[in-house]
Symmetry: C2
């Protein structure tokens, strides 16, 4: 089966299939006499596995771990569960950071008239926090270091 068919069957773009192969996530595909990559149903199955894990927010590196677990028939289900739950925590943390940003912005926007006058507490707060018109009881949650959250 050519890469295009495997791509459509798995939902992984041809580009990404080649990338996964190049980075060692999946083994090198077989080749036809003329050099085309040749995929089996089993390969497609694995690609779909990768695809779904990506949809669940796992990094390619993590998926490498998941594939190893998948193929290791002797691993304990606890190993998989631990990995899943650790990832859940990371996802929830990132979601919460985004929510906090959204709340902070909503809070600012609540105090902005949103009319055609120029006075805007949102901008004022960005320019000089704590000196503007916005009452804020919320505290800043540790985004202060040079290393900052990826939005």
């Amino acid at each position: 089966m050519n890469i295009g068919i495997a791509s459509r069957a798995s939902g992984v773009s041809s580009k990404m299939i080649r990338y996964y192969e190049a980075t060692g996530l999946i083994p090198k595909a077989g080749r036809t006499g003329s050099g085309y990559r040749d995929y089996t149903d089993k390969d497609v199955h694995k690609l779909r596995f990768v695809r779904r894990a990506r949809d669940l927010g796992f990094s390619v590196e993590q998926i490498g771990g998941l594939l190893r677990l998948w193929e290791d028939r002797t691993r304990a289900s606890a190993d998989v569960k631990r990995m899943a739950l650790t990832h859940v925590e990371v996802l929830r943390e990132r979601a919460q950071q985004l929510e906090e940003m959204a709340s902070a912005l909503i809070h600012l926007a609540d105090h902005c008239a949103g009319d055609d006058r120029p006075d805007c507490p949102i901008i004022e707060e960005l320019a000089a926090p704590g000196r503007g018109h916005v009452h804020h009881n919320h505290h800043h949650h540790g985004l202060d270091g040079p290393k900052r959250a990826r939005s």
Copy 2:
């Protein structure tokens, strides 16, 4: 004021200050006779503005817009508010996507014994969705195209 001082005063790394200058987000800094960048308190003020907007999850490109709004004394506060609220929606969408991934994973993990036996519904579901031991009432929310959500 040298770049290091401006960096510590604004919370923006020297690297990023140069990057913001190179990409045109902030104007080119003045230079001393020997070629060192030279910053004023006003420059630091602007850098802090950028820093806080980044903390609120705005992209550098969006911050360009915010800076223009900041410096335009005639703009309507509605313009700022609209931008803020649009961004809030994007943030909330991303947060929700992460939450959905987390829920899906939790759902799988709930059905995994997490002991030393190898049977694991999490892996099984990744390998062959809908054919495993997991009852799922949840539906898939349109992450099916080749273009996928950034985790």
